[in-house]
Amino acid sequence: MSGHNESILREPLITGDNITYAKITDDILSPVENKPNKAWWIGFIVASLGALLWVVAVSYTFWNGIGAWGLNKTVGWAWDITGFVWWVGIGHAGTLISAVLLLFRQNWRNSINRSAEAMTIFAVICAATYVVSHMGRPWLAYWVLPLPNQFGSLWVNFNSPLVWDMFAISTYFSVSLLFWYTGLLPDIATIRDRAVGTRRKIYSIFSFGWSGSVKTWQRFEAVSLILAGISTPLVLSVHTIVSMDFATSVIPGWHTTIFPPYFVAGAIFSGFAMVLTLLLVARKVLGLENYITMFHIESMNKIIILTGSIVGVAYLTEFFIAWYSGSEYEQYAFINRSTGPYWWSYWMMMTCNVISPQLLWFKKIRLSIKATWILSIVVNVGMWFERFVIIVTSLHRDYIPSSWAMFYPTWVDISVFVGSIGLFFTLFLLFLRVLPSIAIAEVKLLLKSASEQAKMKQIKEGHENKEYVTEYIESLEKFDSVKQEDYAKI
């Protein structure tokens, strides 16, 4: 790869001068190899307090029963499944980045895939905890697995979307974990090689004896490709199946064929927002501006505009179909969403998911780190409300008016959700400390071809078309990590 030059028109994926392989390793491993700074400690304490809240709330639920939540005879799912779908959705960006973008040879993914995949795994863990904790008898959760059992021929119900869900989520988790870990092997080996003492021993075990030989690298590439191939359909299938929990039911507002694509788009939408939320902070705090550049941020923002618009179209389509169907229950469900007792959650969803991402059409906003960060949070708030709207407002007023009811969360509902966020961040912050947050090996691949310094060299060599060079230099204006004066000299 290092043998040829990349077109000067492509924006650099690594910025900064004097970037060497060693410097990349040093930069990326600095949080792993040094004592954590104050910012990390503050974050970690807050997050682990959240995780503690989660432990308390979930234990309270286990001890007393699901009655600790605000659910009732009409609304059997609320914050629990809202949280579940939200977390699963967030996970999707990681898989999309690591698998789909790999297959499409989008090299810019190399700097963000590691964190995104870690985020996937932690998000799926958070989602999975909901799967278990929302059950009335969580100690029997294994009954949804098709295990051989002592009950004779008692099997699971393969008609039930919850069984599909179980397959989907467990497959998703294992493949994601495998993919992530495989990618980590060369980097763990790097840490091992630089570490001493116990650390070395530990990393040595976890590096699975990575030798760095050509053969190893070749197999590594092959495995990555195969896993990417397996993961790619999962990006589509997992949230499709999650959406079928609703789509295959008879409840107006759930019983909708548009759900699979709509859910997948929503998942990617929220996932990218979460990647941005995390990386914008990590980049600053860990000093990784040269590897996660404005180009990355802008690219992700563009994906958010696209998926946000798909989601918006889906919302409008649902409304149109409700009217067009002529079914009074369906029509009522949608009128109730927008004007019923939960109107505020519907409009919260519309504002956050449909209107706010459209702001990203403005280049200024797209390139503003602050605005992007705020919008990324707004999007995830919106996506939480989307699931809340789908689940609660559909259930609370379905067919028989006598059973219409309101849902009010209890402190336990809120604590389980807030706590799951704490759990997620605890895991993520620990990840930042023990594993490289950027795929070192994969970033190194880009250094000789797609880095700013490589392109600078190209320009200096003077083989390039002047017009292109000017265009290239102009495109660098948005980079906060590029020193413009370097180019003024040329």
Binding site: N64, G65, I66, G67, G70, L71, N72, K73, T74, G76, W77, H134, M135, G136, R137, P138, L140, A141, W143, V144, L154, W155, V156, N157, N159, S160, P161, L162, V163, M166, D245, T248, S249, V250, I251, E328, Y329, Y332, L395, R397, D398, Y399, I400, P401, S402, S403, W404, A405, M406
Partner: protein, 1012 residues
Amino acid sequence: MESNKKYWKGLEEYNNTPDFVKNNKNEFAEPLPIEDVLNEAGLSTVTPRRDFLKALGFGLGAVTLAACQTAPVHKSIPYLVKPEEVTPGIPNYYTSSFNGQSILVKTREGRPIKIEPNPNAGQFFRGTDARAQASVLDLYDVSKLKAPALVKDGKVEETTWAKIDSFVKGELAKAQAGGKKIRIVSSTVSSPSTNAVIAQFISKYPAAKLVQYDAVSYTGIIQANQNSFGKAVLPKYNFDKADLIVSFGADFLGTWISGEEFTAQYTANRNYKSLENKKMSRHIQFESGMSLTGTNADTRVPVKLSEEGPALIALYNAITGNALPGGTLGNNATADKVIKLVAKELVQAKGKGLVVCGSNDVSTQILVNAINAAVGSYGTTIDLDNPCYLYAGNDAEFNGLVAEMNRGEVGAVLFLNSNPVYDAANAKAFTDALAKVPAKISFSDRADETATACDAIAINHNYLESWGDANAYEGYYSIVQPTINPVFNSRQAEESLLTWADAPVKDYYQFVRSNWEAKMLPAVGLKWEEVLEKGVVTSAAKPAGAYSFTQSLAQVATSIANSSKAFKGGDQIELQVYENVPMRDGKNANNAFLQELPDPVSKVTWDNFVALAPKTAEKLKVKEFDVVSVKGSNGYAVELPVLIQPGQAQGTASIALGYGRTKVGKAGNDVGKNAFPFVSFANGTMQYATNVTITPTGGYYELAQTQTHHSFEGRAVIKEATFAAYLKNAGAGNEKGEHKNYDLWDQYEKPGNNWVMAIDLNACTGCGSCVVACNVENNIPVVGRDEVRRRREMHWIRIDRYYSYETKNGDVTKEKEIAKLEDLDHVSVVHQPMLCQHCDHAPCETVCPVLATVHSSDGLNHMAYNRCVGTRYCANNCPYKVRRFNWFNYWNDSRFDNYLNNEFTQLVLNPDVTTRSRGVMEKCSMCIQRIQGGKLQAKLEKRPLKDGDIKMACQEACSANAIVFGDSNDPNSEVSKALRSERIYYVLEEINVKPGIGYMTKIRNTDTTVQA
């Protein structure tokens, strides 16, 4: 590059010994001992003796150590001498009576667990009301006293019967000797044997007298009949003979005299069988508060309490052409119009009309008598010759007692089945007067309000532990027999009285038996054992005579006009205090089943409230659940939350009696507020209406309602038609759109039975006794007020109640249109029992991940509790929302301490139905234990199952026969016939879940000319 160095494995290689050269070619240089192991000897190696002993020793030691732990000991004691009639697992049924109604008590292994109506009761056979169904729980009430008690300085100290007897006898003798009066205060005694006991008691203590008083009194009717016809009785009303029923505030389907009986009579003229004969009665209700009866009326006209008298006068004038003064209804144009039309119809219906009035005012009832006489009701719809003995209380006599006590004339007072300190109108005056009585004895089973004000509590048996009898109507005698040995150290009140009277026969069983053998049995030629088996003795009714009314009504009209004028208007609100269906007069307030049974109209549980019309609330500037202070003209004030009640007459308010008990027990203490002090004594009777001022307090109190949305949004969930339209087309209102069905699923094979149900919306009155019957039969947990507020009541069957508003442009049923309506007074109501529909394409079944809910081959949707992991997906996907989730371990959680949290009360559980643990879904099982029981019975008797062999608990309790259950594979079964009715529709059939319960359209016999 090749290395020249050579490394040897050993000297053998270096020396290249022949052995090495030979073996080096093999994979293993030395032979592996595989052959040795696999040969015969290797396989049959015997364990050495020592090893065996070692293993044996270790094993023995380990087992011994493991066995050292004390295992829990469960005592299961077999019968030493097995009672002949008790077979574990097989229920026994005993006849008995509850409040005068003959019943069957189902016992299992000696425990009474369920009440059923007694099919031997002949013309008096009908369903059972909620109280009767719930009464088994009272037997297992832990709040009762466990032994008789003496009360000293307000402290209740348990003691022995000997001490009680010596105390009471001493006091009675003292009173007798001192020339003081002895009074037995009792609610109406309708038991011939009890009356005989009291007679014996009086013969021993001539100073004694029985004072009967009913918390909710019917003295007005009794005295009016005395006045009009010389007969001081409560007549027998025949609603089944009435084609036109006009009721003025009488809740005859609910709480008035004998609701179950009237329900059966009333629905006989309105149910599907009657409709098939093109016959349906008409019912017009004038009332201020919305009663259960009002919700069933064809036309309901809200009238203020002050307008009730004038309305009756107007009706009388319109029928007879007389011109009694005071019959103007100037402010209520609707009532005025309807009265005139009703008068015409009543005259036309000659002899087939019936006018009833809920008032306890003598003058008002005399006027009602005059109207009924004028339209020829006596001898047909009203029978004075076979009177009802359920209520004989005399308000004036009771009031006289207070005066006697105040004057210090009373030496001893005994309270039998009465609690005047709580429920007397003038409870304060009564309590003060009571303090002046030297000896006060209560027969209460618990230290209730009156008992704690007494000196001795001679705890009485529960009726399920008692001997006795009842005489509800002329010629209708029923037996009360014990179904369990007394649980506590209680003694039947009658036996106590006999003991204190030093009667020759103190054993009450002997007493009842000899009383029956002497008086009742010779006439019917039955033996005692036969009566015990049958439970009831009925003799042919006497011919009902026609009575004419001859008195002058001038004085009556003046009295009515004065009562009407007593309502001041202006800022004053006219308050009606009434009995609601679950709580009645509050005697059973500690019954958790009744507390959690939603009031059929308001759907409120565990509280009473102030019902106000929307307009009145607006005027008073209060909203729903605002706490208001209600101050009566006698100065009594309570703070209660407001409930906006559509159909409530403007300017009136209603508060239910029976709440606010303070000493009844864990479940019933401090539930709601006591409204009895609003009752006043005027014109010789108790009056249940008064003036109040209502002022907001600024507080807020959320009532626990099981239903919070009250309109059906124009959905096909409810289908209704007028009787006129029905006569033209039996399928009126049930027009089915043309649409094709596509099935993704295979049909289930139902080779044997296919259990289904038909529910007649025209018969169902919404009373809710099915709900309690289901609770008792299926061990359904009571969850308490807070959980109901969170919408988590567990009822498997519920009654959905919908309001629709009558306007010129038809009925309005949609929330958003209702919000724009001006007139919310004219409301029509429909009740719809809703339970698991046992869909053939059940949406719950497809979504359960663990197959915990599956379809059976006989058309049922099963629920396997043990398999349920509690994802609640099935409940979400149930379009009828009939699935109930065990949010907590309701039967074993100290936070739900009003129900089963003790081993004693757990004895009420039906052993055929498992209790559900927390985290498990449950729902109507179509009483699967009854289906299996019925099948087994038929099998044992070697015969095919007959239609009617199996009855659902809800069906059995229903007096209206609104629920028909059976096998649809049998084309001749009653349910198959019912399901062929053109009125049948299936709720939400358009979503093709194929429900198994057919509903029959609601038919209203409205006349557009009477329509408000």
